[in-house]
Symmetry: C2
Subunit: 248 residues, 2 copies
């Protein structure tokens, strides 16, 4: 059953490599779409560097404000992987090698290869539930409302699939797209504002994109009530048709 | 002349369409790389929805903290384009149609077509300098340390080129990549931590990626002093060569 209250979320991307531009993030868009399809409203995203006070500060700001916080990055074996320690610090709990996480690592590594660095990946804050990693075994975890995942997209995606069934979800937001084509935003903006004013139960956005043939515009109606979304859509389609006719 | 003090920046991406996953952001990675190449340290990124209090709050938090704040999105002609008004509110200044911006719009639109919606794109906070838009004419602007740009990537990129010469820049961060190949992170993590400890003037990161042949790892040394970066690089290369030899 979906919850009548909106279920909200934030994403915290952790990593110097994103801020330097060396690595182009692929997780934000993926998680955003995933959450929208799951009936969870993504309300904010932050990207912070591998600096403990920045991570702890962002975790505490975001977990207080939203139903869930999803983090990506910083849970590998090297010295710059400090996410688990920072999340433990944010919650004020201890952290140590977790026997369940250690057992998962042993599915991939021989006992003799479980050196101190690899065991870093089994360090889990006290009280967290593990999130399985079918690809490289080192788990993510969920503590309170914070979901800690890897930064490598394929692993993050597998973890998201595993944690999603444990999450509370709300009514899905329905989105309908109306093609305005080559009709310029400036030509329909006032009509669109009037439709938006008449349909306060939905949100309406206008999105231009550049194509080889010039700008093309799309109008998107979003809302949780199918009738309200359909009514706004009809009004927008009528306005667009009228403007196309006037132009042609 | 580059500044001896680090010049820092944040990016604020404004738009429901990014948070819903409908549009995949292409601006963060582009600006990140551009700033790194310009000697400006990107320290934080936030994505917020088209909600006035969220935008105003983020603008004020980020402009106080970093040398520059770059915003993208929300400066078109439709009712959901509220960035300029929010930036004016954040600075506590007025906003109105700017004659210079109006003149720019007249390069693209006939006087008779400058309806109220299009004139929204000429609304500029008092005291701002304009940033030319060679593509669709509606300008961005810079007020104080806040640079307000379009969300459409090609327009944003053109605006960034135009505003960059006006910005203070610092010494460029040098980055050197050492290929660790199939050597697992867990095998070199302790050596890497030792190198990092011995070279406090640089930052060292380890970045796995998935390839068809399995994981491949790269180690990146970053710093402003060429000698320090080179020294750390040599130590890492020696450790990687030793581990490859031990393995082979």
């Amino acid at each position: 059953m979906s919850d009548p209250q909106p279920v909200t979320a934030a994403i915290l991307v952790i990593g110097d490599e994103i801020l330097s531009g060396r690595t182009k993030d692929k997780n934000i868009g993926y998680i955003a779409e995933y959450l929208t399809n799951s009936g969870i409203d993504l309300r904010e995203v932050r990207v912070v560097p591998d600096v403990a006070e920045e991570i702890v500060g962002a975790v505490n700001a975001l977990r207080a404000r939203y139903t869930y916080l999803f983090t990506t990055g910083g849970i590998g074996p090297t010295h710059d992987d400090i996410t688990a320690d920072c999340v433990a610090a944010a919650f004020g709990v201890g952290i140590d090698v977790d026997p369940r996480a250690r057992a998962m690592l042993l599915e991939r590594h021989a006992e003799a290869d479980l050196n101190e660095a690899r065991l870093r990946m089994a360090r889990i804050p006290f009280g967290a539930e593990l999130i399985e990693n079918p690809i490289s075994k080192a788990p993510g975890f969920m503590i309170g409302n914070v979901i800690v995942m890897a930064g490598v997209p394929s692993i993050m995606q597998a973890m998201l699939d595993r944690v999603a069934p444990r999450l509370r979800t709300g009514a899905r937001v329905l989105a309908e797209t109306i093609e305005a084509g080559a009709l310029p935003e400036g030509a329909y903006a006032s009509d669109l504002a009037a439709v938006a004013g008449a349909h306060p139960g939905v949100s309406i956005g206008s999105y231009p994109s550049m194509t080889a043939a010039g700008f093309r515009n799309q109008i998107v109606v979003r809302g949780r009530d199918a009738d309200m979304v359909a009514a706004a859509r009809r009004d927008i389609e009528a306005a667009v048709a009228r403007l196309h006719a006037a132009k042609g």
